[in-house]
């Protein structure tokens, strides 16, 4: 039963994630932490960190959530739920480009949903910050990462490795 719930919840998340995989993070957080209690806030923060470290789509956070809920089967159900509908939509669009891409209703719904998703990304950043920014050293790490990320072309994985190392050195 939990596999069906994982699948269904990630299908819903994927259908509301206007703005790409990043846009899904607030929805995954609400669903996995607040609604179901499947993940503790700290574990969700780690799942997001893992999705940055691994290759491919950020929404692979679904695999992490699914595995924590119900092992390999849970990981499969959540991953399938997260990617099935976006894949079907994209393939349908490839078949009938003009009808779908110029569909006014879809475009206007997305135009309204995207600002909301950006606002909700702020909520997720706030929640992650509450978990990780427990002192000035962690605030300094985040500020340094923000500046390096904005001003240089450094790869995010290198930033994450540096953050982990700095965290370990600070203790």
């Amino acid at each position: 039963m939990v596999h069906a719930e994982l699948f269904a919840r990630f299908v819903l998340v994927s259908l509301l994630a206007f703005g790409g995989g990043q846009a899904a993070l607030p929805l995954v957080e609400r669903m996995a932490v607040e609604d179901t209690g499947w993940l503790a806030p700290a574990t969700f923060a780690s799942a997001v960190a893992c999705s940055y470290i691994t290759p491919g789509p950020i929404l692979s956070v679904a695999t992490f959530v699914g595995y924590h809920v119900s092992g390999i089967r849970g990981a499969f159900a959540a991953t399938l739920g997260a990617f099935l509908m976006p894949w079907m939509l994209a393939t349908t669009v490839a078949r009938q480009i003009a009808r779908f891409v110029d569909h006014r209703g879809l475009r206007s719904f997305g135009a309204g949903a995207t600002p909301a998703v950006i606002g909700l990304l702020g909520v997720t950043a706030l929640d992650l910050g509450r978990d990780a920014l427990v002192g000035w050293p962690q605030v300094a790490i985040a500020t340094g990462a923000l500046l390096f990320g904005a001003l240089t072309r450094i790869h995010p994985v290198a930033l994450l490795a540096a953050g982990g190392l700095a965290g370990w050195l600070i203790g």
Binding site: L27, P55, L59, A90, G119, L120, D131, L146, L159
Partner: protein
């Protein structure tokens, strides 16, 4: 131009394995392997794939892969390309999820984790700023984003409703004016 299913699978497996850093890196790899090396799609096809999948909900990079897979080998090609692309990510996330429980017992794990999550917070803020520059071009859009933030903080379980309501507002505004929220 077309390509065999095994070759398609192998190509997207390579792209999925090397796509560290999201959509930009994946697009670069797609261009290098599918456009330059194999010559089975054109740069215009890749640009079209991005343009046509951007308005859709869900992971854009997966949709670009699915779109190009369909262009090359129909539904089977689309399924093969998408599965091959997602597989390395899913396996590595599964392994990390498995290792997370064991690693959490190590001394110093919490310090390392907090350092990494601090960087993730910064990366997310950077992403938010980039998206905001692109999408929050008017007062209404900014107001919707601000309302979503406030409601999201005040009512932590409201996210799906917030997105759906904002989408409906956009739907009604565009129906009336022919433009998105400005």
């Amino acid at each position: 131009m077309t390509t065999s299913l095994p070759r398609l699978a192998w190509t997207f497996l390579q792209i999925g394995t090397l796509s560290f850093g999201g959509l930009g890196v994946a697009l670069t790899l797609i261009e290098k392997l599918l456009v330059t090396r194999l010559g089975v799609v054109s740069a215009r096809d890749v640009a079209d794939a991005l343009t046509h999948t951007k308005p859709l909900p869900g992971s854009t990079v997966v949709q670009v892969v699915g779109y190009l897979g369909w262009r090359l080998r129909g539904w089977t090609g689309s399924a093969t390309a998408t599965a091959s692309f997602v597989l390395p990510s899913a396996i590595s996330m599964g392994l990390l999820a498995y290792g997370y429980a064991a690693a959490s017992d190590f001394p110093g794990f919490e310090s390392v984790r907090r350092g990494i999550v601090a960087v993730v917070t910064a990366l997310l803020l950077g992403t938010m700023a980039r998206l905001a520059r692109q999408a929050l071009s008017g007062h209404v859009a900014r107001a919707v984003a601000l309302c979503a933030f406030v409601v999201g903080v005040a009512f932590p379980r409201s996210s799906p409703w917030v997105v759906a309501t904002a989408g409906l507002i956009g739907f009604l505004v565009v129906r009336d004016t022919g433009r998105g929220p400005r």
